[in-house]
């Protein structure tokens, strides 16, 4: 049937099961916005800044595993998406970004609102397209969705000139997608499984680091069965949180620069480290020369380029994680390792995460949020101290319930991502945990939340600082504060101006009532928690330092910390850089 490019875009969305898109109109996408009025089955959320359209699409994708879709006009509309697209590629989030461009005959002439968004996004997309021939549009859109959500997932951008939206074609959507050279990882080769199982069987002190790959592959059940059969303790990378129940006796929480001490110590003492769907990034490994010094590393992943990129595994299993773990589960024998698991538990008992009593700290609030929601809510964070504390104290019970910009570290991500998650899963309670710095980057979306009655709860931890930057200035720059004190507007008046329910809380006595009040309100709520200004995140591995030079929380008793540390350089004094 002969129809326009604009209609083909809407057809593609419906074919792909997209119920919600996030966008902002402008000159060259007018034909698409006009066509959109004929498609009530696709909800369009009008954002206040295109960056947030990308973050909402990202939150939608992380909360569901479906492709998130964002839409922007040419020029500044398209460039405003860039931070959101870069956030998505770093964390492997399936996203399709559609941008309009100037008429195809005007491209390259520096036309009004022209920008080379294809060129700009080459390094931050899994793939991208500039469609200048209407006949290719159905194929390109089908491919874009396929590429975004298969293999190692990621954002795909489709740039469509205005005249392609209005041109007509009878070209049909393809029934199958085939691209030469693009294969989706399936089951791993049996010899890789056999070798991994041999190493697992030999190991005396194995640990597993489970990452976001487990969530992307939907391998949570297989991971749990594997861990329980072999009694291998499970640590999560930041983005792997939620892939394994945190209240499980084999869970030792998060690993990394601010990971829980037990996990870090276990990896440093282990004789076998299984990296499952992780990319051994620098925030997790610390200085790779000092990472897991006694261990053989076995890497499970679907992306060949991750194998050997930062650490050198002795073996690897290349394939879809669900299938890889299924295959491993067929071969591994039930194994008890009482000494090792007892040792790990001892580390956990010796180095717990602490929340000092009688003070009103960010940790106090986040522990309260965890208790209040019982880990059942979806929580999205910004980046910085509150992100690490949320990762430490929020014991999410379900997969796809912790949304955070782990790779790019994007401030301003949390609030719009939480909104995207709420649009996708309206029946879930959704919280955005943000700081006063990050929230001021994207708070204009309060208006979007009001207009769509997007019922997200914002936990704003206001300490008057860019806390993580201040912490580094304290630890590594002689506590010389350079541009980290952060003024804020009166958030109560701001919430009033937007028509958002507001609570301010600065005392422990009011914490539970505030959280309960927020949950009870039917609509967006801004809760400002005025917390102590100078609080540091511990444990900590200094940037560029080895995980062996882990610094414990000074609030832990030094005598406790002297215990069990053995050869570690674990200190309470300064963080080594």
């Amino acid at each position: 049937m002969n129809r326009s490019g604009a209609k083909i875009v809407m057809e593609a969305l419906v074919r792909e099961g997209v119920d919600t898109i996030f966008g902002y109109p402008g000159g060259v996408v007018l034909p698409l916005y006009d066509e959109m009025l004929n498609w009530p089955q696709v909800r369009h959320v009008l954002v206040r800044h295109e960056q947030c359209a990308a973050h909402m699409a990202d939150g939608y994708a992380r909360a569901t595993g479906k492709v998130g879709v964002c839409l922007a006009t040419s020029g500044p509309g398209a460039t405003n998406l860039v931070t959101g697209i870069a956030t998505a590629i770093m964390d492997g989030i399936p996203m399709v970004a559609i941008t309009g461009n100037v008429n195809s005959w005007a491209i390259g002439k520096d036309a009004f609102q022209e920008t080379d968004i294809q060129g700009i996004t080459i390094p931050i997309t899994k793939h991208n397209y500039l469609v200048t021939d209407i006949n290719e549009l159905p194929q390109v859109l089908a491919e874009a969705f396929y590429l975004a959500n298969t293999g190692r997932k990621g954002p795909v951008l489709v740039d469509i000139p205005k005249d392609v939206f209005t041109a007509m074609t009878e070209a049909e959507f393809p029934t199958t997608i085939h691209r030469r050279g693009y294969t989706v990882a399936g089951a791993p080769p049996q010899d890789q499984i056999d070798e991994a199982v041999r190493l697992i069987t030999e190991a005396k002190r194995p640990v597993m680091i489970a990452g976001a790959g487990v969530l992307h592959s939907g391998a949570m059940d297989e991971l749990r069965k594997f861990a329980e059969t072999t009694n291998i303790p499970v640590i999560n990378s930041l983005l792997g949180l939620g892939s394994f129940p945190r209240d499980h006796e084999l869970s030792i929480g998060m690993m990394g620069m601010h990971g829980e001490a037990a996990g870090t110590l276990a990896v440093q003492e282990a004789d076998l480290v299984l990296g499952v769907g992780i990319r051994f990034d620098d925030r997790l490994t610390g200085n790779t020369n000092g990472f897991a010094p006694k261990a053989k590393i076995v890497h499970f992943d679907l992306d060949p380029s991750e194998i050997g990129k930062t650490v050198s595994p002795v073996a690897f299993v290349l394939g879809d994680l669900k299938l890889s773990l299924e295959a491993v589960n067929k071969l591994v024998q039930p194994t008890e390792r009482p000494e090792w698991t007892a040792q790990v538990r001892k580390w956990q008992d010796t180095y717990p995460l602490v929340v000092p009593e009688g003070r009103f700290l960010s940790r106090t609030v986040l522990q309260g949020l965890n208790n209040h929601t019982d880990g059942q809510a979806i929580v999205a964070t910004d980046v910085g101290q509150h992100q690490m504390w949320t990762a430490q104290f929020y014991k999410m019970k379900k997969p796809r319930s912790f949304l955070s910009s782990g790779g790019l570290g994007t401030m301003g991500y949390g609030f719009p991502a939480a909104m995207g998650a709420k649009f996708a899963r309206p029946d879930e309670e959704v919280w955005a945990v943000v700081g006063d710095g990050g929230f001021q980057m994207t708070l204009q979306e309060l208006q979007t939340a009001v207009e769509y009655n997007c019922n997200v709860k914002i936990c704003l931890l206001n300490n008057g600082f860019l806390g993580m930057v201040r912490q580094w200035q304290e630890l590594f720059y002689d506590n010389r504060h350079s541009h980290v004190a952060m003024g804020s507007p009166d958030f109560g008046k701001l919430a009033d101006a937007y028509g958002v329910q507001f609570f301010r809380c600065s005392r422990l006595e009011d914490l539970e009532a505030t959280l309960a009040g927020a949950s009870a309100h039917d609509g967006p709520v801004l809760c400002e928690f005025v917390v102590e200004m100078e609080e540091n995140v511990f444990p900590m591995v200094g940037p560029g330092a080895s995980n062996s030079s882990l610094v414990m929380d000074p609030d832990l008793e030094p005598s406790e910390a002297a215990h069990h540390v053995g050869a570690f350089e674990t200190t309470h004094a300064g963080v080594k850089q």
């Binding site: 793939h127 991208n128 050279g181 380029s305 050997g308 990129k309």
Partner: protein, 163 residues
């Protein structure tokens, strides 16, 4: 591990932005690209590229994996020199004195090069050969006032090892 020159060939699907995407990968991941060449191949809509990359085995292995990850790349390979034919074309303009002209022609003959265009003042020398031969030719011509050199970069094809 020591740094070597590696010859990587890639078959790529040619779309808007393909070459940009390939070259961008080398830049952003810090792979050292000594030369690259792209051209049509036996498949319409596809191109075959040859990259000369400096790096140790780990770097080149990572480079291949990253190239393979690009959606446009159908296949790519690190060619072993004994199992490949590698050639480069160079055009070298020399402007010798009148007394030197015969010496230039002698060198051209010695290297079995060609001179597609000569004027009273300049000679364009054309050579297709492997890189070391080309560089010897350039060295030999250097005393005769080279004023311009244009090189294609290496193109390479995998072949069976010679018996």
């Amino acid at each position: 591990m020591s740094t070597h020159q590696h010859t990587i060939t890639a078959l790529v699907q040619n779309e808007a932005g393909t070459i940009n995407r390939l070259v961008s990968l080398f830049r952003r991941r810090g792979f050292s690209l000594a030369s690259f060449n792209a051209g049509d191949c036996e498949d319409p809509g596809f191109s075959r590229l040859t990259f000369i990359v400096n790096g140790d085995d780990a770097v080149v292995s990572q480079c291949l994996k990253q190239l393979n990850k690009l959606i446009d790349v159908v296949e790519c390979e690190d060619l072993v020199s004994e199992q490949s034919v590698q050639r480069e074309l160079a055009l070298i303009r020399v402007e010798p004195t009148e007394e030197q002209r015969q010496s230039v022609y002698n060198i051209v003959n010695e290297f079995m090069a060609r001179t597609p265009r000569s004027t009273l003042t300049s000679i364009v020398v054309e050579q297709v050969s492997d890189v070391s031969n080309l560089e010897r030719l350039i060295a030999a011509l250097t005393p005769y006032n080279i004023t311009e050199i244009v090189r294609t970069g290496t193109v390479a094809m995998k072949v069976e090892a010679q018996a």
